[in-house]
């Protein structure tokens, strides 16, 4: 009966959906906005921390320890704990959301760069690459599949977590679920719509990033069986 005809006990009231198109559209943009900010900022921050971890190996353990600890804090608790300091703002949401991307992204970037075969790095050195250029032209390019894999996990995870920020008055689809559904005696239609669209967004962005990976790694798909 999930997507059945309208009725008093139906999960979905299509005329509600029809009447709240703008609300759903706004929630979609908001959800996307919160997700993209979190992933982009998280990626930049992770890039920076990864470079530090790669350059000064002793920092890798403390960096993963701190980001790992952040990762284990329940999201709901983190958002609520931040409210007295930063209020019901995007900043509050993003502090939490960005924090959760760090461990995944740093792990993948560092593992990706470490996974570049040593003989290739040595060959690059022997050709006369200087360290910075080698890092960008060789190490980072060859780590692309691992880095994009991290971005995909981080993105999908973030889309799920954004929903939780609905509890502090934000949250895109989370807002839809909390304000329109939970707070209205668990009216099921916005809950189902929010959850479904959230999943759909995750699928779309994941497939999109897989496409980006294909574009960035043309060498990987032209292998011939020999």
């Amino acid at each position: 009966m999930l997507f059945g005809a309208n009725g008093p006990n139906s999960f979905i009231w299509w005329d509600w959906v029809d009447r709240h198109r703008d609300l759903i559209k706004d929630a979609t943009f908001e959800h996307l906005r919160l997700t993209l900010i979190a992933v982009v900022v998280g990626f930049l921050l992770s890039g920076l921390l990864s470079v530090i971890a790669l350059r000064y190996r002793w920092t890798y353990a403390p960096i993963t320890w701190v980001t790992g600890t952040l990762y284990t804090i329940p999201s709901l608790a983190l958002f609520v704990l931040l409210v007295p300091w930063t209020g019901f703002t995007t900043l509050t949401a993003e502090i939490g959301l960005v924090s959760y991307t760090l461990l995944i992204l740093i792990r993948n970037i560092v593992a990706g760069v470490d996974g570049v075969p040593a003989p290739l790095k040595e060959a690059a050195d022997a050709m006369g690459y200087r360290p910075v250029r080698r890092f960008f032209e060789i190490d980072l390019r060859l780590a692309t599949p691992a880095i994009v894999a991290g971005l995909r996990i981080a993105t999908v995870t973030t889309i799920g977590l954004v929903t939780v920020t609905g509890l502090i008055g934000l949250g895109g689809y989370g807002g839809l679920i909390v304000d329109q559904g939970v707070n209205r005696n668990f009216f099921s239609t916005p809950i189902v719509v929010g959850a479904t669209l959230s999943v759909a967004m995750a699928v779309v962005l994941d497939v999109g990033l897989a496409g980006v990976e294909r574009l960035l790694t043309p060498w990987a798909r032209r292998k011939v069986a020999s």
Partner: protein, 346 residues
């Protein structure tokens, strides 16, 4: 590694050979400073390697490694252009140089747009050499370059390297654990023992003829004379006239020559043309040598032929000799097993 003192001849191919743990790769990598020596001096082209910035030193030294070390994410063209790009060459200059190199190493220009994974092992190895030669460095370092390809391709690549070296005359340092590869390719061989001890240094033929010690002898392996025969050429030995007479000579004279040389066949020549040979019984009843039917020498060689190949032809021939002709097919003399043995003893 212990102390090691070596002077590598300019424009020659020196092979560093030895068992694992002898420091041959370490020695190679000290030349382009992939490994830093704890003490001592290394000079390249008269300059101490530490006087030059590392990246500049390396851009002036070609480097070929096992499994080729090609960058999998770059096209063949981009791989070949690695050092020229680092040196900031213009696009046109890189393009021009790339097509020269493709020609030099025998690659299909179609492959330039492909990625390394799409090429066979042999093709990848050629790209590796082209990449190392791209900026025309005077020195080429090769670390076990053929260890990843099958024996047939390896033999072909080795031949190509010999032909290539004839054209480019680089100072090449080749690390290999395969003594036969070293014998085949090198002008000089340095045999290293565990800990970087230099056991012997010299041309392969010298090492094979007089190994300095038991270690070198056992490393060179069995059949040292045969291996040396592969290096020496027909031109290195003295030839004999053999049982060969002018076609204008009399039948009696021919029989006399056969008797003197203790053979039952006679070769006939017309000036510097060798006409062929005949069995002594073919001469029976003939009035003139000119009327005798001769057979061509099937075993014939050039001065540039390796003695080993000449020997192979000789033992397989009816007359047990090989006729020697120069490049214009003028007859130079006869090669016998005795001549080869004498030449080897020289």
């Amino acid at each position: 590694m212990q102390e090691l003192s070596l002077e590598l001849p300019q424009g020659g191919l020196t092979a560093l050979v030895g068992p694992s743990g002898c420091g041959k790769t370490t020695t190679l990598k000290m030349i382009n400073r992939l490994i830093e020596p704890t003490s001592g001096r290394i000079e390249v082209e008269g300059r101490e390697v530490h006087e030059v910035a590392t990246h500049e030193l390396r851009r002036g030294i070609g480097y070929v490694i096992q499994q080729t070390g090609l960058f999998p994410h770059k096209t063949i063209a981009a791989n070949i252009a690695t050092v020229p790009s680092l040196l900031g060459w213009s696009k046109e200059r890189i393009k021009e140089r790339t097509s020269e190199l493709v020609d030099l190493v025998g690659l299909d220009p179609e492959l330039l747009r492909r990625y390394p994974a799409e090429l066979s092992g042999g093709q990848q190895q050629r790209v590796g050499v082209a990449r190392a030669l791209a900026a025309n460095p005077p020195i080429l370092l090769m670390d076990e370059p053929y260890s990843a390809v099958d024996p047939i391709v390896r033999a072909r690549l080795q031949d190509e390297l010999v032909a290539l070296q004839h054209r480019v005359h680089k100072t090449i340092v080749l690390v290999t654990h395969d003594i036969d590869e070293a014998i085949k390719l090198a002008d000089y061989i340095a045999i290293l023992n565990v800990g970087g001890v230099l056991e012997q240094f010299g041309p392969p033929a010298d090492l094979l003829r007089s190994p300095a010690n038991e270690f070198v002898a056992s490393f060179l392996g069995r059949e040292r004379a045969l291996k040396r025969m592969a290096l020496l050429r027909v031109a290195d030995v003295d030839l004999v006239t053999g049982p060969v007479v002018e076609v204008g000579a009399s039948v009696d004279e021919a029989q006399k020559v056969m008797a003197e040389q203790g053979v039952d066949w006679i070769g006939l020549r017309d000036g510097d043309r060798l006409l062929g040979w005949a069995w002594s019984h073919d001469l029976d009843g003939a009035s003139e040598l000119r009327n005798v039917t001769t057979e061509p020498f099937r075993a014939w060689v050039r001065p540039s032929t390796a003695l080993r190949e000449a020997l192979d032809l000789i033992v397989d021939s009816s007359t047990r000799v090989a006729a020697v002709f120069d490049d214009d097919d003028r007859y130079l003399g006869i090669l016998t097993i005795n001549q080869i043995a004498d030449g080897m003893a020289k």
